[in-house]
Symmetry: D4
Subunit: 154 residues, 8 copies
């Protein structure tokens, strides 16, 4: 069964991340949710990333605002894919968090979604996981079919 590490940099980010949890659950993807701060709990953050693969995680989703270093720090400590959700909380309506998340140095990429894109982080996780868990493809197709019908019936 696919397993995702779902991290946020602050307790205050939990409501936003709820959408991500809901979509992961709709795909029957298992996840472990943790609050970890790149700056306030640097040792625990590094530990989580370094042990993630051995603990059975297939990928990690990390959401953070302000200087938004969380996804990047996680990516520096693991080779499994890291999806970053920039969270709106800084000065430029989240643009600062987006740039801090996406502009990684060569070799340490973060797969970035839109600011507050918690929902699409989960959809992207499903598409990535479908490489290893092909049964996910059917669910993705079913989800898209429902979206299409919803638009056409509007």
């Amino acid at each position: 069964m696919p397993k995702v590490g779902l991290l946020v940099g602050s307790k205050s980010d939990l409501p936003l991340i709820k959408k991500c949890e809901d979509v992961l659950a709709s795909y029957t993807i298992d996840y472990e949710l943790r609050v970890l701060s790149a700056h306030r709990t640097p040792a625990e953050t590094a530990d989580f990333a370094e042990n993630a693969k051995d603990r059975g995680f297939d990928l990690i989703i990390a959401g953070a605002g302000m200087s938004a270093h969380l996804a990047g720090v996680i990516a520096a400590h693991t080779t499994i894919p890291v999806i970053g959700i920039p969270i709106k909380s800084g000065m430029l309506d989240g643009l600062d968090a987006l740039l801090s998340t996406v502009q990684m140095p060569g070799g340490i990429p973060v797969a970035t979604v839109a600011v507050n894109g918690a929902e699409n982080a989960a959809h992207l996780a499903a598409q990535v996981l479908s490489l290893k868990y092909p049964e996910l493809e059917l669910k993705i197709k079913e989800t898209r079919k429902q979206m299409r019908e919803k638009v056409l019936s509007a």
Copy 2:
């Protein structure tokens, strides 16, 4: 063997994408390079995306500038992961391309890297593909080791 579709929106983007090719090659990842425009060849673009999975592609990397619709159009027509490279060419030094690439509607995500992030698009592809092709993990680790040594020797 892993196989990647590598698309650019214009012939003028080919030099930039060379870095992506080099990194894919360093991981021994097979790729097919195509120039396809969301606006000038919309039918061919949709066809490529719709048939990508059946043709054996594991994921698609798409780079485009200006209104930068290519990655999004590709993502709308396939369920395999799509990595988007915003290319600097518009008015806001590529910020416009970044926003056009990353701000996808719910359900149709694009895994976005930095503006002109051709190199990291390939590294991200390797990490994503390692879910299905575990032998890639060793190469990723070796690459990171070399990067670390290069920094420490500076």
Copy 3:
């Protein structure tokens, strides 16, 4: 009688587009309103654009937010004029939608109005249609006269 295709990318854009409908009606311009998504219903969107001229449409107005690809996708599939309304919903107060709408590649233009400029999209449509339907000119002049009097009486 002049006929306009009026498209929005999401059901949530309908209230904004109401102003556009009202102005079109004030000019006695016929229109067909549709919700079509460049990403969630790509096939239906392409079909609409490709058949628009044969179905008697003189021009198309398309409004969309976020990555705002709708007007561009429509423009890629038809030769009748396309007016794009960037809709405020992304990160930069609609500036992102404006740039995504206006920065089209050479040969596939979108006549762009201001962010949330639903009203002016209809006025612009009337001016464009007056080339083919000269009786519209009188109505445009009457509208302007009323605006002028409203300002002077303030």
Copy 4:
């Protein structure tokens, strides 16, 4: 025969507008090129716009930079369609000119193309004029076919 007024706000804008002239010529659209400044020749600018329709112009293309008032001033004095080309010359790489051109008050629209979008202003003019001069449609289709082939052969 279709006839276009082609205005720029300064002599220094003439090289940029050359692309627009070339594309208009490729469609066999007649045009009259004038340098007129909203601020330095306000009377002549208003006169041109007020008499444009009577002089046989079908639409006006106006390009200007900096505060970029030219297209708007023209639009205030005529009911034929006005296409605005924001020209890069101010502080924000042309974004300022784009906003000054596109953000018109209700009732006085300017059909705006991208910054320095001289080429697309001409393509847009052709599409608009095709409502009155249907023979233009064939040329537009031929132009698009050539663009498509150029991309596919890349």
Copy 5:
């Protein structure tokens, strides 16, 4: 007695301009308030500016939002000083109006104050008018003294 023309581009700007009226009154500067639109009443706007000096106006204050052409159009038609107040109403929190107001072509300057800077437009008017009406200097000094005492007592 000093006399100022006080113009706004729309009835909706009147509440904002109230601060300007109050400060002008505190300096016993006479003013005439008018709603005039650069785009909706272009002829009346040009007339006002062209006759301003003959009608005894010493300077003009003009406030406008969106494409914010009013101050510039006024400046093009008179040689008395024009103070521009960019009004917040467009896409970029008034930055667009600021740039449209301040970035005038050489020879046609607009003395620009901050976005929504109605209060400082009046203070600036007083300082400018003090060149011709030296008795204003005492009032300016008294105003500054009161401001200083207000800060120190905080």
Copy 6:
């Protein structure tokens, strides 16, 4: 004879300010040029402003880049009009200098021109000075006439 204080914050700003000197000279306006830094020579800067009126200056033009405090500091120490020229040198192509110059607290206005607007600072000075020195009006009209002819002959 009209007399202007012309200040720049750094020796490196002198070439830019040359245009201002030329235009002042064309109006036969006397000026005294000084390099004074709000931060490196705060006492001399305050002294200059406090004594400016007594020394016969009618107004002060101050140009500065980066944090661009010069015009504001001058304005805090005098009641004669202060024209600020934001100089491009900081991070945001001069936008930062523009905002730092124009966003003054209530009661201490700076009449701001465009970034690097040295030429228009002088034209604005002439218009302001014409309130006290009416003979300047003729020169302003002559200058405008020449500009108009230059445009029309293009």
Copy 7:
């Protein structure tokens, strides 16, 4: 005992600065709070800075919005460290204040914290003061331990 000068440019900034006061108090750092304006009380502001060291202040924290000159003016008049808090109040959500505060000329630095970063200004003060008052280090460590525990218990 460590002693800090805590300045704000306006009475309206006092609520924001309360967080700074609380954190300083938690470290048992003495402070003197003053409202001083770079533009409305320039003489008193210069005096405070020039006498700060002699009056026993170890460093100064200065918060201001809009053109945000306060920290820079203070820094020009003293050699003790100056921490600047840009306060959100201008046009660009405080980005303008940030740039005005941080972009100081060489030799006159301001140690800048985030927009509205009143809390971190106090933490930074504690770290700086710990160089002279080593007993502060224990309190800083205790504060960080509490923050870490708060995150881990979330």
Copy 8:
């Protein structure tokens, strides 16, 4: 003798940091220069910060571009003051690096200087160190005197 840790995130930042070295040397402040990457050498970076105080460092200056996490990561692992230099290399002319450096979470401040502000980072270090090493004050005053004379002689 004062001792500073001087870190950059990449070998390519070394030329920029040369100015910082020169100014530190002019104050006779000892420093150790290291290339350390928050993402490519995360373990070594954390180690350096954790042992900095025990190794006798009084403060750390850290310069980095792109996502610019270096100063923040260092600050998370030490209680001595950290001065951050955002380095221009990302998409927004260094604004992205500035925001990533300055917007730290509460309790983990970074004293930020301007983009590429290597020179002022050293001046700020001198002012901070003067709290512990009072002999630095004389050198700071001498430096300022020279700057003042240089401006006045311009």
